[in-house]
Subunit: 270 residues, 2 copies
């Protein structure tokens, strides 16, 4: 599991008595320690989790469920497990069907703190990253109330606004509002014929997300393929509508389309 | 013609002995004067241009050629006319076929200073807007060397990097790098189902351009419809390619696509 911004914030905001970091890389553990992101760190998964009341899984989305299954073996009965993956349906389904349940089980809930940037790693960590941002929790009928309570408290103490929805609703929402924008930025960048001239600000802005890490985004797209596919189809339909109005010279249709889009955008706070 | 950022910059940078502003609105003239954007201002087109060595047309692209034809009647023989329209083929063709030519003619060349924002009006004016940005000039076989010289000097004195290309090459380039990003932002905004939750940063960024003025952008899209249509088709093709790879779960194809896009974007300076 890679270190996330979270550990640093958790320590600064004193949401836990003790924040322990786990990484495969001893160098990462050392750097996180030096930067004050963790109280203690280790490369030994068992050491990291055996005394923990709450374990947070971070990393590329396809690594989260396997890591959760492995760590659960050493976690205390009744302790809480959550993750920060950008897609939820696959992860929640995989962990809910495989984690030990019952009185000696692990209490799992999916989280998605919507905060971050195209940058990665402990060097980009910032304790203020979460304040005022949204965190989506994805409880199901199988979620233990203790997990819901602990996760809600965790994110609220970091200053986040916490909402709940089903894993599927989460993936549809994020497919349309985060995964699709990234997909478009990658497509716009890849269709460019970069000249030696400077590119206009509008192009730079609309392709900035294409600087994101391909090895994170392949997993996000794959683990949310149905919702991403549908969101892409909806957008392609909009492009076709506007393109046709332009090509046939239909000013009234263009103006109507642009005004509608501007009204939606103007109504949303930056 | 609306006042542009240009007048203020031209006065600050002393690119002309005297900067005269022309607007249909007396209030706009007064405000520009108060803000120091112009030396003198008027709502009388004849007064504005009859002593000018260089006249710069600014405003929505569909107003530029008609305004140029009208103003040319009162301009001095041998004086230079240029414009700052975001599309060039239509404007250049319209003015080249209608302006008086020969020894007592007007020397016209198309300009496109690539600077600005989604904001408009004299209140958004900034003298530093042009420094370091690109300006494209679109001379043709009919362009008088005097016009090319005067326009090159004008934009260079404002701190811009000046390049030349044909009006068609300009429209293809801007169609792909500016008009298409705006089109996408409008489409992404219009396909949104705004929830009460805050939208992710990625969505906000990828739709910010949809705040642009619909009454400017209908004209830009219409006056560059062929290039915009082709750019939209190319992008739709890229979306289809990436979407299909995602839906069929082809990780290798996705990673290849994302890495290619990232490489292009990483190579371009912000």
């Amino acid at each position: 599991l890679s270190f996330s911004f979270l550990q640093r914030a958790a320590r600064r905001k004193r949401v836990a008595g003790r924040v322990v970091g786990l990484s495969r890389s001893a160098a990462t553990v050392r750097r996180a320690k030096q930067r004050g992101a963790i109280d203690a760190g280790t490369t030994d998964a068992r050491d990291a989790v055996r005394d923990a009341d709450l374990v947070i899984l971070a990393g590329p989305v396809d690594t989260i469920a396997p890591a959760g299954k492995r760590l659960a073996r050493w976690m205390k009965p009744g302790s809480v497990l959550t993750d920060v993956g950008s897609t939820k349906s696959e992860i929640v389904a995989a962990l809910e069907t495989s984690l030990p349940r019952g009185p000696r089980g692990i209490c799992y809930i999916g989280s998605h703190p919507i905060a971050g940037s195209e940058q990665r790693g402990i060097d980009a960590a910032s304790a203020g990253l979460f304040a005022g941002a949204s965190c989506l929790l994805t409880p199901t009928a199988r979620t233990h109330p203790k997990a819901l309570r602990a996760a809600t408290q965790l994110w609220q103490r970091l200053g986040m606004r916490v909402s709940r929805m089903t894993p599927d609703a989460h993936d549809r929402l994020l497919g349309a509002t985060s995964h699709l924008p990234h997909l478009i930025a990658f497509c716009l960048a890849s269709s460019a014929d970069p000249s030696r001239l400077g590119m206009p600000k509008s192009w730079l802005e609309m392709t900035r997300l294409a600087k994101s890490d391909p090895d994170l985004w392949d997993d996000i797209f794959l683990s949310n393929r149905a919702a991403v596919g549908k969101a892409a189809d909806r957008l392609t339909g909009q492009i076709r509508t506007l393109r046709q109005a332009i090509v046939r010279g239909d000013r009234a249709a263009i103006v109507k389309f642009l005004r509608h889009a501007k009204a939606i955008r103007d109504a949303i706070r930056d």
